[in-house]
């Protein structure tokens, strides 16, 4: 139950952060990505603030012997740069650039009841399931562990 409560609190903070930062507004995200229009630097400040707090906070967390409500830290340890990473990030970039939604803001707008976001989220879940299907089918070579 403790894990659910802390995750709930983290989700709440995350949603507030997206709203306060303006990143719940896809127009501002697209304004950052559009270097040749009226550039909106906000996303860089959001990343900067987020990275500063997360970097210091993670360093502090990891000096502890373990997390408060779970057995151990589960941190990806892969260092290889494979084709899936670049292809996936590229496909993600196209989708992100088309309408300005990445998963967090899209879910937030979906929870707010916005029609466009709900359709986006539905398609996003389909894309995730499609990857799951590709991953477990024989289309792809096995062997790459998930991070």
């Amino acid at each position: 139950m403790q894990r659910q409560i802390s995750a709930f609190a983290a989700g709440l903070l995350f949603g507030c952060g997206l709203l306060v930062s303006g990143m719940a507004d896809p127009a501002r995200v697209l304004g950052f990505l559009d270097l040749f229009g009226t550039w909106d630097p906000t996303l860089a400040f959001v990343m900067g603030g987020g990275l500063a707090v997360t970097g210091l906070g993670y360093a502090w967390c990891l000096r502890r012997s373990g997390p408060l409500c779970a057995v151990n830290y589960q941190i990806p340890n892969r260092r290889d740069l494979d084709a899936r990473l670049f292809l996936g990030a590229g496909l993600f970039g196209v989708g992100w650039g088309l309408v300005g939604y990445c998963p967090g803001p899209a879910l937030l707008a979906g929870a707010a009841g916005q029609g466009t976001a709900l359709w986006f989220c539905g398609a996003m879940l389909a894309g995730m399931l499609c990857w799951r299907w590709l991953e477990i089918s024989d289309w792809l070579q096995p062997g790459t562990a998930k991070g």
């Binding site: 306060v20 930062s21 559009d34 993600f92 970039g93």
Partner: protein, 134 residues
Amino acid sequence: MGLAGGALIGAAAVLLMLANGRIMGIAGIVGGVIQEPRSADTPWRLAFLAGMAVPAVAATALGLFPASVPAGMGMVLVAGFLVGLGSRMANGCTSGHGICGLARLSRRSMAAVATFMAVAGLTVYVVRHGLGGM
């Protein structure tokens, strides 16, 4: 407000690590729920999503939630599908790679962020400036 909001997002990531020992990757949280619903992680993942819904509903009730950008239904569906497929294929999205991964100086995350930023910028350029103002 960008810095303050970013700090809140960072605080959320630190809380999830401190309490549960987990990376705050939204694509991973949602993807985990639909791909492995019987996982022992499903309850906390759902709790995270429920927590996100609270400020969304509150901001909507106050009339503060920003509108989506105008886009055709076909484009919205294609974009959503690509974001879902790509974020799982690359093991992360803007939060998992962009915040949590960069904060721990992961080289996979650096490569992913550089790639999706560049491709997203190029996509916006093509849509807004490259197709005769489409």
